[in-house]
Symmetry: C2
Subunit: 219 residues, 2 copies
């Protein structure tokens, strides 16, 4: 195994576990058993190392998502929401082929990236995969034609919150579920659970058409 690969593998392990800011280049190189200076030699900077770690997954995930969106487009009917969300499962599970336990690792990385809102990552993803993201958004909007666009905007971010949070805490949550309810959840079941939840939230009638506080018994 090359030095470069040793760095990448160790970095993704520590990044996904501790976050990007909380992982020092020193901890990576010592655990990977390579020299500290080799990170800058091979990657230039910590930022570029982070991008390289993410790119290994994004380069598999994004084309797979694009392909699913194409399949949906060929159906020649209004795409429904559950179909769209479920179509995201396969691309994520495909990440298992990138590295052992890849889907789980990527979800953790994704969540950490979101939490720490690394500006350079946002730019990086948008420049490289902006068209796929736009396409997903277009499909999403067309899947809920009865909702005002601003409603779609809000619900999408509510849903994203559930997904990111679940991804980031997946290890802790599955451990708790096993300890308290003897329930062994895999990555696939977890994704399906959260998808079911957010799809139901999306399917709710428009907030703008209902009375928000019908039950004022206690207020």
């Amino acid at each position: 195994m090359t030095t470069k690969d040793k760095i990448l593998d160790t970095a993704e392990l520590l990044f996904s576990d501790l976050g990007f800011d909380n992982t020092s280049l020193r901890s990576i190189t010592s655990k990977a058993d390579v020299n500290l200076a080799s990170v800058n030699y091979h990657f230039g900077s910590k930022k570029e190392l982070i991008q390289a770690v993410m790119e290994r997954y994004l380069s598999v995930l994004m084309p797979a998502i694009d392909e699913q969106l194409s399949k949906i487009a060929t159906l020649n009917r209004e795409p429904d929401l559950t179909l769209l969300f479920e179509a995201m499962v396969e691309p994520i599970l495909k990440l298992e082929s990138v590295r052992p336990n890849g889907a789980h690792t990527f979800m953790q990385l994704f969540a950490k990236a979101y939490y720490e809102s690394q500006g350079h990552m946002k730019k990086f993803v948008n420049v490289r995969y902006g068209t796929v993201l736009k396409r997903f958004n277009t499909t999403l909007v067309s899947a809920v034609p009865h909702l005002p666009k601003r409603e779609v905007f809000w619900r999408w971010h509510f849903a994203l919150g559930s997904c990111v949070f679940t991804m980031g805490s997946s290890r802790a949550l599955t451990d708790m579920a096993e300890a308290d309810y003897q329930q062994r959840m895999g990555v696939a079941e977890l994704i399906r659970g959260v998808i079911h939840f957010v799809a139901a939230g999306f399917a709710a009638p428009s907030v703008e058409n209902i009375e928000l506080y019908p039950n004022r018994d206690i207020a």
Copy 2:
């Protein structure tokens, strides 16, 4: 205004904006125009400063939540989910009285605390307000008697994700909503929106009773 208060006010401003780890004592003391060493004199350490900042809000929020739970208990009927969630709005809005814009600031702080998962905060909250948290959980479980407990566990965390994420990104999201849809959202509307979303997710039929992939057109 005392030095201690100047530190608290400035700290909460920077913490809520940049997060705890990303805010140095130096940036706080220089912005508050007090001496660096005064933080350790008045609070002992950065950890204790963080706890003091949170405590100003928690000491108002938690008793208010407890009171709402009491009111729900006196209704003498199965508490419904929407009622329970809506009951949380008033306590949060009460935080406006702690400091100007307090509800918004607290939500940001809460989200950052969750993201950075500061171990000492978790302990601190559990020790001081564990009974209120337990009581909320008990009420939640009794509000959805048709769901298996493990389902409640999962859905609660999915819901929490939506809430935390929305709280943490509230400024960015409301700014986008105003720019793109000319929609001016206040804190109250935002909370109600996300509550409506997660209540719908909670109200969905149990995942364990439905076929998860009824629509396999594309997989």
